[in-house]
């Protein structure tokens, strides 16, 4: 599904250049649930941004489902993101003047789906995250866990090939975190490929594979016995 070879990335900071990713080789098969771990500055967010086509790589190659991701202009990148990827952010990033259903339907709007279909599909996905009754509520009326579930529904509604989650539980208490992880595991059980950036080891343990990043290189890449989040809920 994801094939990365010899990935380099550096940021220019004035006259200095900060080499963030120093030759990453990394691949993900379909249906995997991967945790990317590392302390801050390890390059894990940069890696996720490149995977999410939010940032460009300097060197190396990136193939997503057999499609080489390179030389993208803004429009093409937007279309690929819309078609291939779903995003979940630490701070949820829901649009605060749109209700839950409208937030979930937004990626479909960019797919130019007609309004009625869009709303039906958004409701279906809200139902899957258990928030159908909250469809007409604004984000300000939802709890943190609910917001993240809305965000997950929004990420999944476009039926992406890969779900990218950047610290999805970072802003949540542990109980709510496990609920969110439970939801993510269930989505993964259906065969969806998911990548999670986290620095919490208990969250990482709920994945099937853990990749440790340090100073821009992969320190460790191991398959783990998945801890089911439902045991803690």
């Amino acid at each position: 599904m994801i094939e990365i070879k010899n990935l380099h990335k550096s940021y220019k900071m004035g006259s200095n250049s900060l080499h963030v990713l120093k030759g990453i080789d990394f691949s993900v098969e379909e249906g995997e649930l991967v945790a990317i771990m590392g302390s801050s500055g390890s390059g894990k967010s940069t890696l996720l941004n490149i995977l999410g086509m939010l940032d460009e790589l300097d060197e190396g190659s990136y193939d997503l489902d057999g499609v080489p991701i390179k030389n993208l202009n803004e429009t093409k990148a937007a279309n690929y993101r819309n078609k291939f990827l779903g995003f979940v952010f630490q701070s949820f990033n829901l649009i605060n003047y749109k209700n839950a259903m409208e937030n979930v339907a937004l990626p479909l709007y960019y797919q130019k789906m007609v309004r009625k279909e869009r709303q039906e599909k958004a409701l279906k996905y809200l139902d899957q995250v258990g928030l159908k009754e909250w469809a007409t509520h604004l984000p300000s009326e939802l709890s943190g866990g609910q917001k993240q579930r809305v965000a997950i529904a929004r990420a999944m509604v476009g039926e992406p090939k890969v779900l990218l989650a950047d610290e999805p539980t970072g802003a949540l208490d542990s109980k709510t975190s496990y609920e969110v992880m439970d939801l993510i595991q269930k989505i993964n059980d259906k065969g969806n490929t998911i990548l999670i950036v986290t620095h919490e080891s208990d969250i990482a343990d709920m994945c099937k594979r853990i990749v440790h990043l340090k100073d821009g290189v992969i320190l460790e890449d191991k398959k783990v016995e998945q801890v089911r989040a439902s045991e803690y809920v």
Binding site: G52, L54, D55, T75, A78, R81, N93, Y97, L106
Partner: protein, 418 residues
């Protein structure tokens, strides 16, 4: 058609209504600019209408020609000779100058601007007395308030009839008494009144204290023979008056042995010059109105653009999320430009309504007062369409600035902002 996209409109409306006070304040500039533009254009129209009332009844493409004294010796004649016209000149000019549509020779009893005693039943008036052809009506139309003007029949039969001005009527008749059919006495010759006229517009060479009698009756009654004091000439609107004027003068100079270099011998007044000057004046006024209007409008639209720049900055994160979810730069740009158009258009409509109300008030308060040349200040549909088109184009062009700024935001930078 993306303009029909309900969701796009909902987004635009929800952003604009997020901070209503700011949105309203933003639009003030455009509202004022439209008020200024419409008021200026309307006032200009009011002035144009006012002028056309002043000159009502006067043919714009007309010319008056009279005789003066020669200033250059020529063909054995000394300078200082008085130039006098006769009826033959009329025939000659009419047959040789194709630009002439109508020519009305005029004669005045006692000479130009001389008053004559007119009597009726013990009342007297000092009035001007004109000998006229019916065709004078085409060049300097009177407003007939009773009876009729002199006609061809009166001319052909040299009828001793007359049309009198309102002031003459008031001097000779008791109020409320019909003048038509009554006789008045001019130099002991009786003329039957067939009509009473009023000045048409504020501007009339003849005034209202005057008696107009058929030219032929004038000739017979006052023994003026072939004499013509001056001529009023109507030029076909296809031609310019100035060109015909030159031709007429040349023919008259040749006939009366006047030096071609003599500029004083033949007096003339090109009435069209007044109208040309007036229309140039009003065109300049309209141009000025648009000039001022467009620049205030530009300032107003720039204010809108400024506020949109601020909202773009405020929405950096939201724009980043949208782009992560698949919004293309085009979609982002489109929304911001539409915001610019919507703000400008709403402001324009509000300004337009206020301005029309103000013009209406101006019309009831100022216009119609006879001493002010200001009547019915309105804006034409064309002017409104031009103003709104300009405004929309400006709003699109100016809206491009915040739109460009918005797509410059990289989704990743936008998401980083917390």
């Amino acid at each position: 058609m993306w303009l029909l996209d309900i969701d796009l409109w909902r987004e635009v409306i929800s952003t604009l209504t997020k901070n209503v006070l700011r949105t309203v304040l933003t639009t003030l500039g455009v509202i004022f600019s439209i008020i200024i533009l419409i008021m200026l254009l309307g006032s200009t129209t009011g002035m144009i209408n006012g002028f056309s009332r002043v000159f009502a009844g006067k043919a714009s493409n007309s010319l008056f020609v009279w005789g003066q004294t020669t200033s250059v010796p020529y063909n054995g004649f000394e300078r200082g000779r008085r130039v006098k016209y006769e009826m033959d000149d009329i025939t000659m000019l009419k047959s040789q100058v194709k630009e002439i549509e109508a020519i009305a020779p005029r004669i005045e009893l006692g000479g130009f601007q001389q008053t004559v005693t007119v009597k009726r039943a013990g009342n007297t008036s000092g009035s001007r007395v004109f000998g006229d052809f019916a065709s004078i009506d085409k060049i300097n139309r009177k407003k007939i308030i009773e009876g009729r003007f002199i006609n061809k029949n009166d001319i052909n039969q040299s009828k001793k009839v007359c049309v009198i001005g309102l002031e003459t009527y008031e001097l000779l008749f008791k109020p409320g008494i019909s003048a038509v059919g009554k006789e008045i006495n001019i130099n002991n010759i009786y003329f039957t009144v067939v009509g009473v006229y009023e000045k048409n517009g504020d501007f009339d060479f003849d005034g209202e204290n005057a008696v107009i009698i058929p030219f032929t009756a004038f000739q017979k009654s006052f023994n003026s023979g072939d004499r013509v004091d001056w001529m009023a000439i109507l030029i076909d609107s296809k031609y310019t008056v100035a060109k015909a004027e030159g031709q007429i003068k040349e023919l008259l100079k040749r006939k009366y042995d006047i030096s071609p270099k003599d500029t004083r011998a033949i007096g003339s007044f090109d009435f069209s010059q007044i109208f040309t000057a007036l229309s140039a004046f009003t065109t300049v006024l309209q141009g000025f109105a648009f000039f001022v209007g467009i620049f205030t409008m530009l300032a107003g639209v720039i204010a809108i653009s400024n506020i949109l720049l601020i909202t773009v900055k405020e929405r950096t994160k939201e724009i980043g999320v949208r782009r992560a979810l698949g919004a293309t730069p085009k979609i982002i740009k489109r929304q911001i430009i539409l915001e610019s158009i919507v703000l400008t258009t709403i402001a324009g409509v509000i300004g337009f309504i206020i301005a029309v109300g103000m013009l209406y008030y101006l019309n009831t308060e100022v216009a119609g007062k006879s001493d002010v040349p200001f009547v019915n200040p309105t804006v034409s549909m064309t002017q409104v369409v031009i103003s709104f088109t300009l405004m929309t184009i400006l709003s699109i062009l100016i809206g491009l600035i915040p739109a460009k700024r918005a797509v410059k935001i990289k989704p990743i930078e936008a998401l980083r902002e917390d």
